[in-house]
Homo-oligomer: 118 residues x 2
Amino acid sequence: MKSLIKSDTKGRKKVLEPCLEPCPIERGMRLLGAKWKASILWHLKDQPVRFNDLARMIGGASKKMVDQRLKELEAQKMVKRTVLSERPIAVVYQATDFGKSALSVLEPLLKWTEKHHL
Amino acid sequence: MKSLIKSDTKGRKKVLEPCLEPCPIERGMRLLGAKWKASILWHLKDQPVRFNDLARMIGGASKKMVDQRLKELEAQKMVKRTVLSERPIAVVYQATDFGKSALSVLEPLLKWTEKHHL
DNA sequence: CTGTTTAGTAACCTAAAGTAAACTTATGAA
DNA sequence: TTCATAAGTTTACTTTAGGTTACTAAACAG
């Protein structure tokens, strides 16, 4: 993570180990940082929740957003989708163990935000 | 943070305490989650860094981006800008104490990302 | 005289992100 | 019969985020 700057004999500067492509922090942010994503995951951490209930909980987000983020979370194996019944279709979403592991980031984030009144 | 669903006598559902406007997690993410923002802050956590050096370190980001994020971070009091000299203008940026407090989020994020090979 | 450095600005543009509202198919209730 | 529910999908936009390239002005190097 240390990026060193060196000048050559002609005074031209260059960086050793530039953070050229997204470093872990950047990548992590891009995994969790999408709009509403962390909130959604947070709501699924304790109990399975049904789609419409979830959409209602995340009041500010449209169903399309919720749907999109759920699909991403599912693809990342952070959330599991379970069909309870066809016909009157019923579906629940819940955080996987891996999804819950992200709480090691979200919990400090929550604490930090509250502590500083942000 | 608990959003309860209740059905009334007629079976209509509604949510008590909907997460209507961005909850702390969401707000925190929006403060730290912009592209390159966390990376930039990370690079300023130990030593003051000059603008162009920083731009070189964050290889993937354009100067405009770096500049924009620095201004946001400055406005949020997470980074301090210091002019070392006019004429051949020289400027350094460094994380403030508040900026460093965000490491309580970024460090777990880094660990999480690396642990899971993301 | 040309090229480099400093710390940005400005203009322009595109791709992606997000929003709102309507629609679907089937079920159950008043 | 009309309304509400379920879990989305579709359409039709608007917004904004981000990228690219070129430019500034003053100073120094070869």
